[in-house]
């Protein structure tokens, strides 16, 4: 089964988070990977129905998840149930856990994971061209990566969710910077898993590229 992975890349937060997906998740999933300009509604509509798992990085709010340059990908009441039916969906985005994730489950998604408030972290802006090398961001983003890898190993949604939460707690326990620690605890407390916690996808081969991707040279939008 293909994986639909949406990696928006147009500003610092999407670059930082999508960079970790490129480095740690993309090597082990089939090439239905929507990156940058491809993270739009039409490519998503074409790829999502064939997939058993949807992983999205993009800006969001309670009732919507967006892609490149905030193009709407999923919005409550404005998508076809066949795009989400039976799928495990992970949205790395703000507040989608409030209305959108429940709506996805109500429309047939096996389960949906998101966050009930903003998803926040601290990254090093000087590493925007090689975001995967940012150890500051890794503190907050590697728990997400670990949870996703657990899903792709064939673990249940609940097991993967617990791995993500444990990662936040473990990193918060050793973090000296109180602001970073507060962000970790904030994401931990706002992570939500809805739907069938026992859902799982067929395991993907565990492949790790020995060398990181080349630097991303595309410009990013500055607020």
């Amino acid at each position: 089964m293909p994986t639909t992975i949406l990696m928006s890349d147009f500003d610092l937060p999407t670059r930082s988070c999508s960079g970790f997906m490129l480095r740690y998740i993309c090597p082990r999933v089939e090439p239905v990977q929507l990156f940058g300009m491809l993270v739009r509604r039409l490519p998503f509509q074409l790829t999502a129905p064939q997939s058993d798992i949807i992983i999205g990085v993009g800006h969001g709010e309670k009732d919507a998840f967006t892609g490149q340059s905030e193009a709407i990908i999923l919005e409550v009441g404005k998508y076809s149930p066949r795009e989400v039916k039976g799928k495990i969906i992970k949205l790395i985005s703000c507040q989608c856990g409030v209305e959108l994730c429940p709506d996805l489950v109500a429309n047939g998604a096996a389960c949906a994971m998101g966050y009930a408030d903003d998803f926040v972290w601290i990254c090093d802006a000087d590493l925007a061209s090689t975001p995967w090398s940012d150890k500051l961001a890794a503190t907050s983003l590697m728990p997400v990566v670990d949870g996703l890898n657990a899903l792709l190993d064939g673990k249940t949604a609940q097991e993967a969710f617990d791995i993500e939460l444990e990662g936040y707690s473990r990193n918060a326990g050793v973090e000296e910077d109180e602001l970073v620690k507060a962000c970790l605890e904030f994401n931990h407390d706002n992570a939500v898993l809805l739907g069938n916690a026992g859902a799982r996808v067929s395991p993907r081969p565990r492949i790790t590229f020995p060398i990181p991707p080349p630097p991303i040279i595309a410009p990013i939008f500055q607020d």
């Binding site: 500003d11 610092l12 937060p13 999407t14 930082s16 988070c17 990085v57 993009g58 800006h59 969001g60 709010e61 919507a64 967006t66 905030e70 790395i92 985005s93 703000c94 507040q95 408030d117 903003d118 998803f119 926040v120 972290w121 601290i122 990254c123 090093d124 802006a125 000087d126 590493l127 500051l136 910077d177 109180e178 602001l179 507060a182 962000c183 605890e185 904030f186 500055q222 607020d223």
Partner: protein, 83 residues
């Protein structure tokens, strides 16, 4: 928890009036002075949509944003668990 962070949390507990935002900005400045950044350009980022605050706020500019923007003030209050 450091004294400076305690003071920041206390400042973020208040309603987002201009005086409260200014006090929080001052508290954040004191926290940053006591805990200078080890990384080259640490930036607080979020994946919000239709927000009044920027998606990326350099940590050394957080005081300015706290003073300017009540929605950001509220977000910071939630992050440090005071709201």
């Amino acid at each position: 928890m450091t004294k400076e962070f305690e003071e920041l949390k206390e400042a973020l507990r208040r309603a987002p009036t201009p005086s409260a935002r200014k006090a929080a900005a001052e508290a954040m400045k004191r926290y940053l002075a006591a805990h200078p950044a080890k990384k080259s350009k640490p930036t607080l980022v979020s994946l919000g949509y239709k927000k009044t605050y920027p998606h990326a706020v350099p940590v050394d500019r957080i005081p300015d944003e706290l003073e300017r923007n009540s929605e950001f003030f509220d977000l910071m209050g939630r992050i440090v668990k005071e709201k």
